[in-house]
Symmetry: C2
């Protein structure tokens, strides 16, 4: 037996026991005639004491231990003279009797501490050492715990986890499919699923009633900051349900996770906001509702005073930054620079301050009287000491810019605490998106999304106004997941295809397989999918999903540790009956 206890479990009540621990040398230090060795494993750190007086040879061995060596120590648990209240094992130490080196270690390329001296690239290359850091390992422990609780909740609600295939078929829409040549079927390829959407709908046709899966999905796309070519979804689908049933069920899931993983009880129902309101009040379909600072529209108050910027603007919107009237010129210029950055793209920013004495100052006081400006601040319910920030321009673009400004102000004002969680359903998404370039409608989610039953009469007459039975779960400004009720009636589906400009042949070619299955008694059904990596990162309070993935890939889709992807042998290519066709 290698150990009687882990390095995290001994307490004062164990004093006097002889124990054996095994783990990694975190650090060693000599003090007087004693050598202290901190031994570490997944469960904690325990201090070992080697006394030179008691056993000089043993102590000498301890002095020769290196960082990250793997050792086994037998000794007696004793109360510490100087206790460490920050360590669960901080009241005890082990007086060593035996020491065995199980394995040596070369000096690691960075320190194995929460605050490491290793840069990103080095940590990724030596990810197996990075994973020894308790903060990184903690993220993966959280991930395990969350996956476990998700399964516990869904199992208790009668959901069956069904594994859908990874080797599937490339779809005509599958521009970003990873493909896999088949040795047994030369010239033919499998594709890796971007989601199990088709299969989960088939399982509903099969009468599985409640399906879920925590499942890897794949997308071969240019990786933006926080995307991975392989990612994990919590994929769910239910039969014989309305939107309300789905929202209830998965609100329950999210609450279960917060309760059993984070010990946070959400007693009230999650707020629900229409997509239209989200865009109007926050300029985003995933508003961060940890703080208010909703948009205020001023267009009707700003016109006709000869200030062309506001006169010509389709939209004038403002937010109120509470207590920021004291912002200096420099601070205001910083904010102006922020909104003028190319990725945000505003032309400029206006402001109105209500000083502590109630007087008003503004960047546009040349054009507006104090009385006129007060109509603006009144509408926004801005008070003494508040700062009103105003953007103007084309509606959709300006809302987006104001959204960024709002988030920036939220961050500056410390209103976006990563340990505070604000959950929200966004509902009533539009069913269609109009594309100016191709002059036609596209499905905002996918072409199987059911229209809101109340809007069915608008399908032909006011297509763009039709709302979808689609919903997103938003937490702290992140889209945690989303889904929809699906169309299960053939006639309605045909109507949708027509509105999307798909001929019968097109529809058959693109979606025929699923449509054929639907001919054999498809039940009403709907569901949703959560991004599991994102879900974990939010609960971990992290901005990036990378550190909640054990072995992530970098922005070029490379695994720096194993150095993949890589070239393969000609013989392998030959067997697959393909060859390279590299462009210059």
């Amino acid at each position: 037996m290698y150990r009687t206890n882990t390095c995290g479990e001994l307490r004062l009540s164990d004093a006097g026991r002889e124990v054996t621990l095994a783990g990694w040398v975190q650090r060693t230090r000599k003090m007087g005639g004693m050598t202290f060795v901190d031994i570490r494993d997944r469960y904690g750190i325990t201090q070992i004491v080697f006394e030179s007086d008691a056993d000089a040879a043993l102590c000498d061995n301890a002095n020769h231990l290196g960082r990250e060596w793997v050792i086994q120590v037998t000794g007696t648990v004793a109360e510490r003279t100087s206790k460490n209240p920050n360590l669960p094992t901080g009241e005890i130490e082990i007086i060593a009797k035996e020491l065995k080196v199980l394995n040596r270690s070369e000096v690691p390329p960075f320190t194995i501490e929460d605050e490491t001296d290793g840069g990103d690239d080095l940590r990724m290359k030596y990810r197996y050492l990075d994973l020894r850091r308790s903060c990184v390992r903690g993220n993966l422990e959280l991930r395990h715990r969350m996956a476990f609780e998700i399964r516990r909740y869904l199992d208790s609600k009668g959901f069956l986890e069904v594994e859908t295939p990874v080797l599937i078929k490339s779809t005509p829409e599958g521009a970003r499919d990873f493909v896999v040549p088949s040795r047994m079927n030369p010239g033919q390829f499998y594709a890796l699923p971007q989601s199990p959407q088709t299969f989960k709908q088939l399982l509903m046709v099969s009468g599985f009633d409640r399906y879920f899966q925590i499942v890897k999905c794949f997308r071969d796309e240019d990786l933006r900051a926080d995307r991975q070519p392989e990612f994990t979804q919590i994929d769910c689908e239910m039969s014989f349900v309305t939107q309300e049933d789905v929202l209830q069920m998965f609100e329950g899931l999210v609450k279960h996770i917060f309760k059993y993983v984070k010990d946070i009880d959400f007693t009230d129902p999650f707020p629900r906001m229409t997509w239209a309101d989200a865009m109007r009040l926050y300029g985003s379909d995933k508003p961060d509702t940890r703080f208010g600072m909703e948009f205020v529209e001023l267009k009707d108050l700003t016109g006709g005073k000869g200030f062309s910027v506001l006169d010509d603007a389709e939209y004038v919107g403002a937010i109120v930054a509470p207590g920021c009237a004291g912002y200096t010129r420099k601070q205001l210029d910083q904010l102006t620079d922020f909104v003028k950055r190319p990725q945000i793209g505003a032309k400029g920013m206006m402001w109105v301050k209500i000083e502590e004495d109630g007087s008003i100052k503004s960047s546009v006081s040349k054009f507006y009287t104090e009385e006129e400006l007060r109509t603006w601040t009144d509408r926004a319910a801005a008070g003494k000491g508040d700062l009103m920030l105003i953007l103007a321009g084309q509606t959709a673009k300006t809302r987006k810019q104001l959204c960024e400004l709002r988030l920036e102000m939220g961050s500056r004002l410390g209103l976006r605490d990563p340990q505070k969680f604000s959950c929200l359903w966004v509902i009533d998404f539009p069913l269609f998106e109009w594309d100016d370039e191709t002059q036609r409608y596209y499905a905002m989610h996918h072409p199987f999304t059911s229209p809101n039953p109340d809007d069915l009469h608008l399908l032909d007459s006011d297509t763009g106004a039709v709302r979808a039975t689609a919903y997103d779960m938003v937490v702290n400004g992140n889209e945690l997941g989303g889904g929809s009720i699906r169309i299960h009636e053939a006639e309605l589906q045909d109507h949708m295809f027509r509105l999307l400009g798909l001929s019968e042949e097109d529809a058959q070619y693109k979606f025929g397989f699923l449509m054929n299955a639907f001919k054999y008694g498809a039940p009403p059904h709907g569901g949703l999918a959560f991004g599991f990596d994102r879900f974990v990162s939010i609960l971990a309070g992290l901005d990036s999903i990378r550190d909640v993935i054990a072995f992530p890939k970098n922005n070029s889709g490379r695994d720096m540790m194993i150095d993949a992807p890589a070239s393969i042998d000609d013989s392998q290519l030959d067997e697959l009956q393909i060859k390279l066709n590299l462009k210059e």
Copy 2:
């Protein structure tokens, strides 16, 4: 709301309640002025009654329902006149008040019954309909339940489920790797993992201590009867453990599954058998121990009587088929034909009968006296009415043949009840296998398998006799899983590579990445992997893994339902910078 209850839950105590059910039409029949409709969902079947007298129009609608239509029915629960004791809902029926057709169905291509009229190919093509059959769905419910209980057990033992990557690197040994061209890294390929072996060992280096994962693995090989190109493993690894620790832990897992899924309590420890004994007694490293019929070796008793078949044989082995002395000439000929089939390859079979009166008959009585034959039957402890079957030849081959004969006799005698479970650890596998062709040793498992500590002194002097610290879990003659303690010491690993004829460069090229990681403090570790598909199929009492997989592939690796793999667009090939290179 689509339903108040499922089709499986109403009982006599619900009589008088108004309920709404939704599901599929299993069958309709008219009797007198009434129409009976069986409505089905995942949870069961409920009988609906439409009374023509009460509502002729409603009853007429019911008469026009087709098989597998999706309907919603509201009505009152009533006690049945003629109860059906075979159905949990068999005491009640619903007196219908309302009927709504939620969806129609074309006539399905086969009947949705346990005993269906659909052939294999048809069922696979319409797998979404096949999955409606309760027997098939039951397998997947079992699979869900098992996965859930596996996680529950391992979580309770401190194992962390960690997702390892699916897009990894092709290894030099990876002749059967599926590869995935990378669009972002032209000319380079990922590979899909045949197992997460490297990653789980890295997680041990990372100090994760106890890891598991229920994970898809991939192998692009010619598919024998019961293999799938994608399959699921329960992959596990532990640090600071001996073989005994691993066996205890995973014996506990298997017992937990039997207990919580099949309600079978295994109180005794699972038997353990050395590989050598398994080969000697059963001719197999995965003996079916649901029945005895162990091999008896007769070589020392059979020589020198002028019967060259036995005189020249390296090995003479027998099994005793109890109570089969009455076998006719024809039955014996059938058995002889069985062992002579090319896939078994015996030259012939000999037999000795002990008749009920104690007299002995034998196919070799020309060469042996009754007294001589009686020394054979005595050794085999054969009694009156028993039949002894004898094969002879080269040891390894003959044992294999005798193994097949034993299994055949077990089946004929009804000793292989799929609902009886016999679990066994096979231990002490040889570390090396000698290959005559290349005249060198190969690792029987993989080159990281640790030698049995007691045999370390034999590594150079008697290499072939060295036992591995490797073990298999065998259930009913199936290898359910296996694993080993891994080598964690660099010196021993180098020694192994040398014995396997790998130069330092070879070893570095093939395994360098893992070996480098091992330089940074690898703990002693070991683990195992279970084949999850097989595990489920055994508990389901099925021979094949295909029906415990929701969407399996056929023997050509094809998904008949979605028709994958398939050709892809030239534009896709072009973007991946590869082209086809089809052989004639």
